[in-house]
């Protein structure tokens, strides 16, 4: 069953970027190239991790794929159609959670549903479910200021998942959290993504953590800097759930570490 699903998944491409170039004016008439000639496919059912030194354009590439940054050259196709504006199949999880401080947890999670014109009652129900699935039942009427950093990021994830997006984009989702909290949340998200009845089809995650990438990804994209480009692609075939103490896991992590050193 699992094999079948996998083989079907590998044939379909959800998102593909072709020769993407991103340049910004540097304010003095000159140009700064952030991304140079980046091409990347994200297949159905795949978890892709973007890693690389700071300045390698990981976050910019993520935003290009999510339709938040328009490439200066090249194109991004989602299900065969060129993106104009935000990717319609995307859920986005921000580094800082980016919750609206004046809305309750419930209302924050409802934001995207409301934008899609879903009625108040259905909205409330879906949001409650998503909040409960992230382990925050009972916090619906709290405000973000009353939550810990980890809880806030849970709300951010619930807000993205409640839309049942095709693809989930995550921008260093655990890096603003303290180590134990980050570890726990990462396990949970990895579990969510590894399960058979998972909500999202594909995930693109930007991360600094080598172990994080190896634990979660089917494929790791190693990026190099000046200007940002794809240096190497590393497929990860370890069985799930993955255990960091497994020698094979450590081997892969070492390989990735070596690649990062070269990039």
């Amino acid at each position: 069953m699992k094999m079948l699903k996998k083989s079907v998944a590998e044939t379909a491409t959800l998102l593909s970027a072709h020769n993407v170039e991103v340049t910004y004016g540097d304010g003095r008439g000159g140009k700064k190239t952030i991304l140079h000639d980046v091409s990347l496919d994200v297949r159905d059912g795949e978890v892709v991790a973007l890693v690389g030194a700071s300045g390698a354009g990981k976050s910019t590439l993520l935003r290009v794929l999510a339709g938040l940054v328009e490439p200066s050259a090249g194109s991004v196709l989602y299900r065969g159609r060129q993106l104009t504006g935000a990717n319609p199949g995307a859920g986005f999880v921000f580094q800082s959670a980016a919750l609206l401080p004046w809305l309750t947890v419930q209302k924050n999670v409802e934001v995207g549903l409301e934008a899609r014109g879903i009625g108040a009652q259905a909205r409330a129900e879906f949001a409650r479910e998503a909040i409960a699935s992230m382990g925050l039942a009972g916090y619906e009427d709290s405000y973000p200021r009353d939550l810990s950093g980890g809880q806030r990021q849970r709300v951010g994830i619930a807000r993205a998942l409640v839309l049942h997006p095709d693809m989930l984009f995550m921008d260093e989702p655990f890096s603003a959290l303290d180590a134990p909290t980050a570890e726990r949340l990462r396990r949970e998200v990895a579990g969510l993504l590894g399960s058979e009845d998972r909500i999202v089809r594909s995930v693109v995650i930007v991360t600094h953590g080598i172990e994080e990438a190896v634990e979660m990804a089917d494929r790791v994209i190693v990026m190099g800097a000046n200007p940002g480009h794809i240096f190497h692609e590393l497929p990860i075939d370890l069985p799930r759930p993955r255990d960091a103490r497994d020698p094979a896991f450590q081997e892969t992590a070492d390989a990735l570490r070596a690649l990062l050193g070269e990039a």
Binding site: R63, A66, G67, L68, T84, G85, A86, N87, P88, A90, G91, F92, F94, Q95, S96, A98, L100, P101, W102, L103, V111, G112, E114, A115, R116, G117, A120, A137, G138, E140, D141, S142, Y143, P144, R145, D146, R159, L163, F169
Partner: protein, 612 residues
Amino acid sequence: MIRVATLSLIRVQAVSRFEALTSRPVRGDAQRSFTARSLAADALVLGLGTLTVLILMRAVAGAVAPIAPAGVPARISLDPALLPLYAARSVLRMLVALACSFVFALAYGLACARSRRLCSILLPLLDVLQSVPVLGFLSATVTVWLALFPGSMLGVEAASIFAIFTSQAWNMALSFYQSLAGEPAELDEMARSFRLTRWQRFWTLDVPFGLQQLIWNAMMSMGGAWFFLSASEFISVNGRTMALPGIGSFAALAAEAGRMDLVGLSALAMCAVILALDILLWRPLTAWSERLQGSSDGRRSLVLEVLRSSSVAGAMRRAMRVLAELLNRVMGRLLGRTGICPWWELRVRALAGRVAVPRVVRAIRGRTGLDRALGILAAIALGSACVMLASHAGFGYRELGDVLGLGAVTFARVAVVTALCSLIWVPVGVKIGMNARLMRVAQPLVQLVASFPVSLLFPWLVLAMARAGIGLGMGSLLLMALGSQWYILFNVIAAASAVPAELRELADIMRMSAGQRWRQVYLPAVAGAWVSGALATAGGAWNASVVAEVVGTGANAVSTLGLGSYIAAATTTGDAVHAAAGIAVMCALVVLTNVLVWKPLQNLAARRFALN
């Protein structure tokens, strides 16, 4: 007795909110039990609400009355018993103007933030608008207002409200624009990636984000508007004098009649009004907006707590929810989604595409091209205005030279006022801002004092200065400073309170001397805020010169040489050419100093002294 009751009310409210947080199934508004306290709150809200409505209706009735056969009255009764009614009329005008300013600020700020092209025109325009004195706006538009509402006092009221509006709106629009420009990138990306409708984005992100700043600014701006209360109610432009019932008119006429006791009385009435507005309007608003921003230990407001514990708030919230749902649907459909063109824009673009764009337009369409074209256009307009003025009958190059000379005199006054205010208020502001306990006490107090219109007391001050042998030439410095000094103080207090504790601890651990502290820590830390404050103070001083260089009307008038008194004289007699010349010179001087002095200083402060 009432105080005790309301205090225990707060405690109940706090407890029930705590319960709401801790107990899983949250009770809805509808299930709230009718306790004695909530009933008391309801009674209080209903009673006060009805009273307010009755007073305002009385004021409205006067405002919409037809003009008597004798024409618009040039004076009002000086019966002190009428002062409460006058106060209500003044407050009504202020509230209407404030509401208009809010709407204007939201629209203008949004337009600036969303369209870079519009912004390059609208933002410099704000600079110009801010530099035109109230009397200038009044004399230019009063005939329009009178023609809009023929035969009704509403025309005069509209003129007065417009005058008040002009001393608030520009500042508030700038504040909202700056808030929008400072929105965190991630929140903007959130709005786009979750594909919020434009309508939804405006109300769930933009407005709540900018509201606190806007309300603070509105509070300041209202203080600034009170300063010109007499000028906007006792309208004396274009050779006509029209007096609207209000505290400002009362004070002006009392001064004219030499009744200093009545001037004092009007000042007392003003104090009462300011206190009442602070308690009933600004405290609840600021407390509410601070809570919106997520701070839990902000200001408290009794009025807000009572409102929240009454069932009125719940009913209003439910009604708003239904209305909001409806509007979200309709407006969301109409205006399209964030980052995606709405249908009408596509239609317009398609139409525009069919029209051949002239090469000239295409050439200046580039941003730098547009800026350059605008600059050239402005220069041409200014130049031709000068030539036209100079060749106009009764106005030659000599007169133009005279006006420029007067401009130099007032310029010097403004410079001295700004420098002196900085010397005094920067150290005081730093001291207050660095001391949390002092700040809690001093800030609301300073705010109240700042919103008092000292201009009401100008006749007194002029008399006192004359006794002490100080002429208005020097005295106008004091009068100008009295209205505009607060901007520096407020900005510096805010900046000093935001200095990270680590920096102060560093100064302690390094055992810095007082001199080194000020030189290396305190002054650089508040430099940016000082620039903004000094800029506003200078602008305020320019505007104030129109009422500070000439004090009083009729036989009691005292005046001194300067651009302010020149404009005042020209607008009073309705000499459009001279008024326009004076205002144009003032605008030019203000905008030039903005470009040549303040903008470079701001850039420097942002580059070298930004704390982040």
